[in-house]
Symmetry: C2
Subunit: 206 residues, 2 copies
Amino acid sequence: MPKIVDVAERKKAIAEATWRVILEKGMEGATVRNIAKEAGLSLGALRHYFSNQDELLVYAMDLVTENVNKRIEEVLKKSMPLQEQVLHVLLQALPVDQQSMLEMEVWFAYIAAVKHKKEQANVPFNALFSGMEKTIYGLSEYGFLKEGLNLDLEVERLYAAVDGLAIHALFERERLDRDRVIRTLVYHLNSILKDEAVLKLPISDM
Amino acid sequence: MPKIVDVAERKKAIAEATWRVILEKGMEGATVRNIAKEAGLSLGALRHYFSNQDELLVYAMDLVTENVNKRIEEVLKKSMPLQEQVLHVLLQALPVDQQSMLEMEVWFAYIAAVKHKKEQANVPFNALFSGMEKTIYGLSEYGFLKEGLNLDLEVERLYAAVDGLAIHALFERERLDRDRVIRTLVYHLNSILKDEAVLKLPISDM
């Protein structure tokens, strides 16, 4: 009787093996051969799930996005003041713990590697930008923001600040630890929030 | 009689050939063989200037840093109000024209590729951070900043905003063009500058 394998589980395990290979060897080491070895599969068995390297890498990246989205959904389910929810949603996209650091490493290696392959760069930048739009316009709509802000440029600025912090936390983790990332982000949010809506440190747990 | 070759010129030409190869083929295509071909040299001739790939890549990256520094020095020589000088200095680190876009592409490919090679990652992040410190503390010392700012976190925020804009300008150049990069940066600086020191758009030419 053939062994019953949960296809979704197996694909996930292969994607996670892909992450580990990228972390260890960089994108140029993320060959189908290395990934099969890391996943403990034969090349043939791996090809049963992914017919080529591109398909596998895209899947591995989609899993990163999916993980982040799941964590954001969890935040949105919780009952808390809007500005705290915003902070916790943004923190899901920042490398502030081991899991998100790993995701960010993989993500960064990937976007850098596909940069010069125009046809493959299905990187969901649009989703991130539109998340920032929802954040700023949502805070504004509910009356949480100071008067006189240029909301269009606040979106651009928040987006830049979050991704800048993410890159720096990734490359300069000695200097920019979790605590400093959070303090900078809270500082930025407080600079645009009305006085009565400012966030207090330490931030609430999730 | 042997041909006289200016070593510095030749090394620079090889570094620029390296950039072109990185742009076209990505870091994994930046082999000594490909670079020699692009530079119109034999492998042996190239090895006369650089004994291995790492040495060549480090040199090519140092040339990027050197170019940026030269442009910054040019800005600092000009006589203009401090806040305008700050803006123009920061713009030298942003991909807002063809040359700086090319440098940013190369720089990005490089830092991504050396990410997992700890021993090689001599990326001058410290220089960038310390430039941001000089900017914020300089503006403060000369009385250009609003009262009540947390200068330490303003440094972190400016650094994040600038690098975030740089990454987004690189990957989303349709949406985030030169004009929008400048508007966002001016908007950010104006949010921390005293009313009498705010920058006006359009910005002055250099």
